[in-house]
């Protein structure tokens, strides 16, 4: 792994979604409430590295993607890209989850893929642009004859290939992938993941890969961050995270997804339900569902601890979680 100047640094980034205050509330200067979607996240991405972010819905992973892409400004903290010698920030592109709503149905594939080329003035002249579009289509496994067609003539997997071609057309140094295969079937998902892996290798892209599927992120990412209720609770290399997770939530999340082993048919639910992100529990945010929780977890937020392998985790204890955690099979359900 390369480790010169970091490519991207997130420094204690937070994002609060505020609700609109009523007139009376504003006149009385009442406390502004809001949902802290991302809370104090620090993350460093090196050049050529793929960092995965996993978590359940509402954990703030998509909000973080929007913050990094600049579509939203963080409420607190800084997001700093390394500037190139000319003082420019690196070019960035995004690939979205839903290939049905992220492509304009009234544009031909050529228009769609050519737009980033024109905007960034990467090629001059119609012939050069068209040649580049053809090249990109071939690169993502489509044919140049597809350029005249419209998005609705393609299947979900092919549309996602078009999305990838469009992202690559901007010749990005940094790519944000927000659940790029969640809407696809398994056999097609495997095609897209293999394509993305090849592109990563050949183009040396730095990327942020967001998903809720741990198996997918294990394939795609060099390092993985696990998010829970807006906080980054653990970060480690992909290898380390699966072999020796340090945060109880990571361990439980790994066990919760059913694998294809038919000899051991036990299920591993995580006790309780995801609390409302607008009112996260006091102390450690995971304490309401954690089998290891003690009194200290209910009152004090755990500090950020670094691991000797270069990762970090937020837990009061230094637990050995390399084995499956046995939880009582029928844990009590808490009301949301």
């Amino acid at each position: 792994m390369t480790s010169q100047t970091p490519f991207l640094v997130l420094d204690h980034v937070s994002k609060v979604y505020r609700r609109n205050q009523s007139l009376i509330e504003r006149i009385r200067k009442m406390e502004e409430g809001g949902t802290k979607a991302v809370s104090d996240v620090s993350l460093v991405i090196s050049e050529g590295e793929t960092v995965g972010l996993v978590g359940e819905s509402g954990c703030g992973k998509s909000t973080l993607a929007r913050l990094v892409s600049g579509l939203m400004a963080p409420t607190q903290g800084d997001i700093v890209f390394r500037k190139d010698p000319a003082g420019k920030t690196p070019r960035l592109q995004m690939i979205f989850q839903d290939p049905y709503s992220s492509l304009n149905g009234r544009w031909t594939i050529e228009d769609i893929i050519a737009e980033p080329i024109k905007v960034h003035r990467l090629r001059r002249g119609r012939a050069a642009i068209r040649a580049r579009v053809d090249e990109l289509l071939v690169q993502v496994g489509l044919s140049p004859t597809d350029a005249e067609k419209y998005p609705q003539e393609f299947s979900g997997g092919q549309r996602q290939r078009i999305s990838i071609a469009r992202a690559l057309a901007g010749e990005p140094q940094f790519l944000i992938l927000d659940e790029p295969t969640s809407a696809l079937d398994v056999s097609v998902q495997a095609q897209i993941l293999n394509l993305l892996r090849d592109l990563q290798k050949n183009l040396g892209l730095t990327s942020l890969f967001i998903t809720h599927n741990l198996s997918v992120v294990r394939i795609m990412a060099d390092r993985i961050g696990v998010m829970y209720l807006g906080e980054l609770v653990e970060e480690a290399s992909a290898e380390q995270l699966f072999r020796k997770p340090k945060h109880p939530y990571t361990r439980l999340l790994i066990d919760a997804a059913p694998n294809m082993d038919t000899s051991d048919r036990s299920l591993h639910p995580i006790a309780g339900e995801l609390p409302n992100p607008a009112f996260p529990p006091a102390g450690c945010r995971f304490h309401t569902r954690c089998p290891f929780a003690q009194d200290v977890c209910r009152t004090a937020a755990p500090p950020r601890k670094a691991t000797p392998e270069g990762g970090m985790f937020r837990c009061h204890f230094d637990l050995d979680l390399s084995k499956e955690v046995k939880t009582p099979p029928l844990a009590k359900v808490k009301t949301a």
């Binding site: 079937d185 398994v186 056999s187 495997a190 999340l253 038919t262 029928l330």
Partner: protein
């Protein structure tokens, strides 16, 4: 051999497009034994949900059942009148839908919805009905049944709503439950809860279950036997352990290998199947899988392979994968 509870033979569903019938389900045959969980797996468009809907006659036009027989406990469901069918739906066959947000009535309390279902099918009288409803709320794991009874669906989280949907499907003591992607809309941690609940209730009530899903992990944990559907046809039916260890149909193996799953040695395998499943009306002649199959030969391209039964499993393939016979 036990008599199957549900027996589906040559079920055919067509869709009329511009006066031309297009086959959506092509002679699908399978059976569910008493107390068994049959997993139905396939990619989107394979006809999993259509199969479930066809059994309880809930096909949305222009989809139409055009052939085949469906029998439940010896009764022919396909010959029932719409009125008689209403007594089967929710009574003899419970249904769990994918999306707990849309499968509950938003303007009626969950207590009322449960009472309605129980009263319609069991006719127990007011007090007993309410007692049963409260009992079901507790059985599916919601705390304070008295409070929950008066709540509306929007006041519950996704996981809790799905628990209520499960209670609704089971409250009239059906002999078969059809669960169509019951956990797809839920997060991993909640999914495991719902699966655990379904397993516990299945053990208690010994109800038979048809579990429709695209997730092979869910199949591996929940099903006793598995039917693999591809382009509206049955590719393979096998006991679950055999299906994962020794699949017969090349598509089954392709599906297993395409699912990203960590292997025992810590690495991750990922083999893709080339191409995509043919859409409605675009099924190639012969075996529907032949354009994507590495074992395809000339007979696969011209003749539709029949479903051949071999010991405990059945598959439709001319050149099945060899078994590693120990």
């Amino acid at each position: 051999m036990t008599t199957p509870l549900l027996d589906v033979r040559d079920l055919t569903v067509t869709i009329n497009r511009d006066g031309r019938p297009i086959t959506a389900l092509d002679k699908v045959s399978f059976s569910v034994n008493p107390g068994e969980v049959l997993g139905v797996v396939g990619e989107s468009g394979a006809g999993k949900s259509i199969t479930g809907a066809a059994i309880i006659d809930l096909l949305v036009p222009p989809l139409k059942r055009t052939g085949g027989t469906i029998s439940l406990n010896g009764d022919r469901l396909d010959q029932l009148s719409p009125k008689e069918m209403r007594r089967v739906r929710g009574g003899k066959i419970g249904f769990i839908f994918q999306d707990p947000m849309t499968s509950l009535n938003p303007v009626i309390t969950i207590g009322r919805q449960l009472c309605d279902a129980i009263e319609t099918h069991l006719r127990l009288g007011g007090n007993e009905t309410k007692r049963r409803a409260l009992d079901w709320i507790a059985r599916v794991g919601l705390p304070n049944p008295d409070v929950q009874f008066k709540r509306y669906p929007h006041q519950l989280s996704g996981g809790m709503r799905q628990r209520i949907v499960i209670a609704l499907a089971l409250c009239a003591n059906p002999s078969l439950v059809i669960a169509d992607e019951p956990t797809t809309a839920l997060d991993v941690s909640v999914q495991a809860h719902i699966l655990q609940l379904m397993r516990d209730l299945h053990r208690e009530s010994e109800v038979s279950m048809m579990l429709i899903t695209h997730d092979l992990g869910v199949i591996a944990k929940m099903a006793d036997r598995v039917a693999v559907l591809y382009a509206g046809r049955v590719a393979e039916i096998s006991p679950v352990a055999e299906l994962f260890a020794n699949p017969s149909h090349p598509y089954t193996r392709g599906l297993i290998r395409a699912t990203p799953m960590p292997t025992a040695d810590g690495g991750v395998q990922l083999d893709q199947i080339p191409g995509a499943m043919p859409g409605l009306g675009a099924v190639p002649p012969g075996c529907a899988f032949n354009p994507r199959c590495s074992r395809a030969q000339s007979d696969c391209r011209s003749v539709v392979p029949p479903l051949v039964t071999q010991e405990s499993s059945a598959f439709s393939c001319f050149h099945p994968l060899e078994r590693d016979v120990a």
